[in-house]
């Protein structure tokens, strides 16, 4: 059983991971987009001022320049808010980075509606969809601050080409430890279960676990899988869950179109079609509010996940009942 260690923004995990990479690899450089503290690049900048380059508020140029650094044998981290790195500069990411298959690591900060009061313009809800459709791109969506640090390190140590690392602004439950191995493309079975599986990503993994623990009391045995690598996705763990539990609920802080839910469904329709209930943003923009208020309003809390599981489980039992 996973327990809460502390509340910690995942962006800090990114900043710590980047700094530790800086200590280990002299060719790691970071490019700043004016919001260096906000995206936690300041740890690296303070430790390695000569390997930090300021580019101002110019996201297209940052992505192109990062490609240039990579051509010059560097491993550049280009980091800005997810809305900008995935959307403002998509063409640079597609051609200069992905088509050239260069080891540029892109940080996407302020993912999801949990950004809170800044509102819709700054809440990245489409970045997974954009990034995972690009050839050569690896896409990470780690579950907490500790795992974000591991994903950041893995983006250099386990990925030769481009990688996108998604993380959030607000303090969220930090519950994994560095002992939980981070293997690119491998889903993590965090809780066994036979009745139904929740496949989650980002900090909704914690919400999924809470839902599962809560449902134990109602005798619903829920499996929880953390997909920290959206691409390449772990097909085996998804297909196995579908075969063994029959029903799948996906949970993510992202549009249901194109995100984790879609990625899971793409795997299942090929191999083992089962019903998938997708929890996420339903083709809509977010708004201002406190993160927890928004999570409630848009149905992304553990309570909402539990409701969906109960509903699906009822249908399953009804279907199984002999006439």
């Amino acid at each position: 059983m996973f327990t809460l260690k502390q509340l910690k923004p995942t962006r800090l995990g990114f900043g710590e991971g980047l700094k530790s990479l800086g200590e280990k690899y002299p060719n790691v450089v970071a490019l700043g987009a004016d919001i260096t503290s906000s995206v936690s690049v300041n740890f690296f900048k303070e430790a390695f001022p000569n390997r930090f380059f300021s580019f101002g508020i110019a996201e297209q140029n940052i992505m192109g320049a990062a490609a240039g650094f990579a051509l010059g044998d560097k491993i550049p981290f280009a980091t800005t808010y997810g809305v900008f790195s995935a959307l403002r500069a998509t063409d640079q990411v597609r051609i200069s980075i992905c088509y050239n298959n260069l080891p540029v690591k892109i940080g996407g900060a302020h993912a999801g509606i949990s950004v809170g009061p800044d509102g819709a313009t700054h809440q990245a809800l489409e970045d997974i969809a954009i990034m995972r459709v690009l050839p050569n791109m690896t896409v990470f969506s780690p579950c907490d601050a500790t795992q974000t640090k591991l994903a950041t390190i893995a983006s250099v140590e386990q990925v030769n080409g481009p990688a996108y690392i998604r993380f959030g602004r607000e303090a969220v439950p930090d519950f994994t430890t560095e002992d939980l191995p981070f293997e690119v493309g491998k889903g993590q079975l965090l809780k066994e279960g036979k009745d139904i599986t929740i496949i989650a990503t980002g900090h909704l993994v914690w919400e999924a676990l809470q839902a599962a623990y809560q449902l134990e009391k109602q005798n619903i045995d829920v499996r929880v899988i953390n997909i920290h690598t959206i691409k390449p996705i772990d097909e085996d763990i998804i297909i196995k869950a579908a075969k063994e539990t029959g029903l799948i609920v996906t949970a993510e802080e992202h549009q249901i179109y194109g995100g984790l839910g879609s990625a899971v469904a793409e795997v299942l329709v090929k191999e083992n079609p089962v019903k998938v209930k997708m929890i996420g943003m339903n083709d809509q923009f977010g708004e201002s509010g406190k993160p927890e208020e928004l999570m409630q309003k848009y149905g992304l809390s553990s309570g909402h996940i539990a409701e969906k599981v109960i509903e699906m489980n009822k249908q399953k039992r009804n279907n199984e009942r002999p006439d």
Partner: protein, 277 residues
């Protein structure tokens, strides 16, 4: 080391490159003739004189880096690479064909030696050149970065983001060249979207601006040498060229930006090219 300093020799290479551009585009049945002919003298000067490179060692660490931002002039780029020794010029005829290493716009993953960057979406190359130049400076490398742009391309906003950053980072190892032929697909730059005053624009962005006749080999080489010697920051060369240069009947006609000659036009075009010499 320059492959040659002999201007007559350079002119001969330019002619060979132009003939190849005409033949290969006709064979391909599509592609960009105008800019490819217009840049033939500049590419000749770069690959046979200016660039410090070893065609038999495309990954040689000390080589100068050429970033072709306007990937659509691939035919002249490929011809310069082939004639300077990167690969057999016989392969040029495979341009744009299925399975060819000579993609419509340069694509490194297809394995053609000499391509630094897969590119073709306009407005990206200067940013890449900036990052590469910064990486070179970080490691105190002696090589320079040469980027090639179109004048129409300067309408892309990202160019100016990159221009701002090149002077901010004092990139004195970066020389950009603008193929200043005053035309683009839809017509004259001044009709489509005015880009002047270019000299003022680049100077106000912190660049040293030089200009040359983009068809005069000695002037091109001298201007590049001056640009390389300028150590205060980035340099841009405004190279005045004529789209379609060498084939008198199509020169300066913007309709030839994105067109290939028909097979039956090849002999006449090559005859015109030879008359020019």
């Amino acid at each position: 080391m320059p492959l040659t300093n002999d201007i007559q020799e350079l002119k001969k290479f330019s002619l060979e490159i132009r003939k190849d551009v005409v033949r290969n585009l006709a064979e391909a049945g599509s592609g960009h003739l105008g800019g490819s002919l217009g840049l033939a003298d500049i590419f000749t000067c770069l690959y046979f004189n200016i660039l410090n490179h070893k065609p038999d060692m495309p990954d040689w660490d000390h080589r100068d880096r050429l970033i072709l931002s306007i990937g659509h002039v691939a035919p002249v780029f490929y011809a310069a690479l082939a004639h300077s020794g990167y690969f057999n010029p016989k392969e040029l005829i495979t341009l744009r064909k299925l399975g060819s290493r000579l993609q419509g716009h340069p694509g490194k993953e297809h394995g053609l030696p000499g391509i630094e960057l897969s590119a073709g979406s306009l407005g990206q190359g200067l940013s890449v050149a900036v990052g590469l130049a910064l990486a070179g400076k970080m490691d105190k490398k002696t090589w320079n970065v040469f980027s090639i742009h179109g004048d129409g391309e300067l309408q892309e906003g990202a160019i100016w983001e990159a221009a701002m950053s090149a002077s901010h980072h004092q990139l004195n190892n970066l020389v950009a060249l603008v193929d200043r032929n005053y035309v683009q697909i839809d017509g004259k730059n001044s009709d489509v979207m005015e880009i002047e005053p270019l000299k003022d624009k680049f100077e106000s962005f912190g660049w040293k601006v030089l200009s040359c006749n983009g068809h005069h080999h000695k002037e091109i080489i001298d201007t590049y040498k001056k640009a390389i010697d300028w150590k205060k920051g980035p340099v841009v060369i405004m190279a005045k060229t004529h789209m379609g240069k060498g084939v008198k009947s199509i020169e300066d006609d913007y309709h030839w930006h994105g067109k290939a000659p028909k097979p039956e036009q090849v002999d006449a075009f090559i005859k015109e090219l030879e008359q020019k010499q």
